[in-house]
Symmetry: C2
Subunit: 124 residues, 2 copies
Amino acid sequence: MQRTRSQQLDAIFAALADPTRRAIVARLASGEASVMELAKPFAMSQPAISKHLKVLERAGLISRGQDRQRRPRRLEAKRLAEATRWLERYRRIWEANFQRLDALLEELKAQERPVRRAKGGERS
Amino acid sequence: MQRTRSQQLDAIFAALADPTRRAIVARLASGEASVMELAKPFAMSQPAISKHLKVLERAGLISRGQDRQRRPRRLEAKRLAEATRWLERYRRIWEANFQRLDALLEELKAQERPVRRAKGGERS
DNA sequence: GTTATATATAACTCTACGGTTGTAGAACCA
DNA sequence: TGGTTCTACAACCGTAGAGTTATATATAAC
């Protein structure tokens, strides 16, 4: 059902907005693990963990392997990178603007010209 | 009420898991804006936008200024950086492990020694 | 075959979220 | 003063999320 890029980001960020799921990601960063192994550290039922894994999987953050009855999960770094890219982008833009703003304020201060915004509310 | 670092990450990622809020962040990356200005592009009531702004604010991603009746919002790049740091961390670790795994597989293949996992399930 | 282990699914509860409308309050304008 | 503009708040509704227990499926072991 072809998800848009925006829907992908929805899924990725939503998946990471839960401490249990972030802990799972952290755990998987040091190697693949079965559902049981992943469940062990948490005071939570196995189905609950399976649900969390499903969320992470739908977000593309992890994938399922196969080893006998086990279905070990592993990280998919691509999607982590995708989220990172989104964040980095706006952080950079904003930081650039911040420096521009600094420069602008210096300029205005030098000119001693107070600015009153017009009703139309034009944005730079 | 002193939020833990984990709760902060909860709030940040949850805030970014909504397309409207990401669009608002994108908009604010190019300069501060009033609630009305932020609401304009969306087919959504003003209170809805105010709610979204509250979510972003609770996550520390934006802050409120004051200009007459307006309460212009601006980005707080610090928190974007915080989320980025979390993501980067596990992406890097995993990528490092991925390369180690490659090396390990080469090694195993060279030795032609099939490994059967013992019952205890020790993790490397 | 039976039994055990590992995982997934179903059905349910409870709460949080994203939207609505209506209204209140604060700052400006005439 | 009265009216307009901008924002916030309250109450409500529908749906999705995170957990539960119970059960089903799949692979393995005996």
